[in-house]
Amino acid sequence: MPFFMLIVRNLLRQRIRSLLTALGISIGITTVVALGVVTHSVKATAAEILRAGGADFAIGQSGSSDLTFSTLTSEQLGEIEAYPGVEHAIGVLMVISPLGSNPYFVQLGIEPADLAHFEVPLLEGRALAAGATDEILLGREASRQLGKGVGDTVELRDRRFTVVGIYRTGNVWEDGGGMLPLATVQEYERKRGLMTLIYVRAKPGIDLAQLTARIEQDHPELATLRTLSDYSDVDQGMQLMDALNLAISFLAVFIGGIGVMNTMVMSVFERTREIGILRAVGWRQRRVLQMVLGESILLCVIGALIGSTLAVIFTRVILIFPVVRSFLALEYTPDVFIRGLAVGVAVALLGALYPAIRAVRLSPIQAIRYE
């Protein structure tokens, strides 16, 4: 019998106990993986926002606790536009407020003239007209959910807007939201002359790393944002999610570890005599260790597989709610599952530590005499 099969056999001896232990572990891993998938997906969506409209990078206010709290002025926009490497810079005011069934309707206020440089793939209709104050472009998802098409009117913040075009960028927040004239949004948000982000397109051949470094050096109050990690640096919500994720991972390891320890201690104690026989027929301590750790790791890998499967099912199920669908586009990346597996192995090692030491320390004679 291959050594691995011996390990499988040992787990199968107490099927119910093994299964329950694996299920216990899987709960923690479900949480870790599901939260990981959601966090990653939200971050990925957020990172897409930084490159919206075909921008090379975005600029926000450094140290703002949440990206939407970032406040920039027209003067700052002018200064950025003045950089020789900048092809054009577009100021955008981002506001989130409920509309219809969507509690997170994202409104991008943008100068209609800037839309010429801001790449928005229109599916229907036309862009915002210059000087218009009551026009709106709707994302395709928003248009669907609201049941509004080109020519219809939408009521938002006690104002009526005419839908002039439908666009689709592929980003859930943008497609679930709308674009309005900057001045209008500034007015109803009472943020005259202010914006949230500046989207920058660099001149061809410009070294982006150099340009962003220059800007940050000249303007310590500004943060240039190109990647996911840049985003997490300015958005404390993301940092909070990361911290929560880490905390839950530790909790899962700890709780799972206790469960595994309980099972493995019982299993090793029950097999005191057997382990003694194995030592008596010449098994090395290392092999006994391999056996006990192998059983524990196998148990936890099964738990991780169950947990990952449950996490996928769970995250799929929450998408049934349109509210969730309007701000969450799921992305399953391998590293989330690898993290789940890593948590599983950590649980296995933590849980097996004490029982393994007990097993290895059994002297063959103690075990043979043991009644």
């Binding site: 019998m1 050594f3 026989i277 030592r279 027929v281 010449g282 098994w283 043979i368």
Partner: protein
């Protein structure tokens, strides 16, 4: 195998338990020649099992020396290798792992030998054939009779072809017929393979099958039996 060479040399071995209050062995001394069949007898509690366990390196003596094939066990670097390859142990009870098949039980010591899965399986099959259980390879011990279990245990003891076989009352729990079968098997193995066989027994009739009977009392060997001479031993093959 060389009958003039000492296989097992136990010198003045003391073993106590419970912080010295129980003297299991009290200066036991014993020599066994290579290929010899020795029976150890004595009243319950006189230290027979203890002595066998010490020779099998399952435990260490408090004092005294145990030298096996010229090597002092106290100085042996790799006791696991000694247990898996130099001696084979058969106990009275609880020998086998109840959930594993007979074949898997026989294979247990082979995990410490450099054998592939197929080699292990084939060798276990050969050994089970040798003890007359070729057709029971897949059967777990719970479905075997006491005598069959002991035969599986003997096959396992031979897994890595050890030159020494130590059996602690292997027939103790068997009826006389299956006990006789196990005894015959052990004797055949001793003769055919040239294995040194040390057998602990209460049973005078079983002991009488040995080439020499050693008597123990209160942790000592009180009668080492007739010293092994050419005349005393049974003719081995090829002699």
């Amino acid at each position: 195998m060389n009958r003039d060479r000492i296989a097992i040399d136990v010198q003045d071995v003391v073993k106590t338990y419970e912080e010295g209050r129980i003297h299991a062995l009290n200066g036991a001394t014993l020599q066994v020649s290579e290929g010899e069949f020795v029976a150890i007898t004595g009243p319950s509690g006189c230290g027979k099992s203890t002595l066998l366990h010490l020779i099998g390196a399952l435990d260490r003596p408090d004092s005294g020396r145990i030298v096996v094939n010229g090597v002092d066990l106290a100085h042996m670097r790799d006791l696991s290798h000694y247990r898996s390859h130099r001696v084979g142990l058969v106990f009275q009870l609880h020998n086998l792992l109840p959930t594993l098949s007979a074949s898997a039980n026989v294979q247990l010591p082979m995990y410490e030998a450099q054998l592939s899965f197929w080699e292990r399986r084939a060798k276990a099959q050969r050994l089970l054939e040798a003890v007359g259980l070729a057709d029971r390879a897949a059967t777990p011990p719970t479905k075997l009779s006491g005598g069959e279990r002991q035969r599986v245990a003997i096959a396992r003891a031979l897994a890595n072809d050890p030159p020494i076989l130590l059996a602690d009352e292997p027939t103790g729990n068997l009826d006389s017929k299956s006990g006789q079968l196990v005894l015959d098997l052990l004797r055949r193995i001793q003769r055919e393979r040239g294995v040194t066989l040390v057998l602990v027994t209460h049973d005078a009739q079983i002991a009488s099958a040995a080439e020499r009977i050693v008597r123990m009392l209160d942790g000592r060997v009180v009668d080492a039996g007739v010293a092994p001479t050419k005349a005393a031993r049974l003719p081995a093959e090829g002699e």
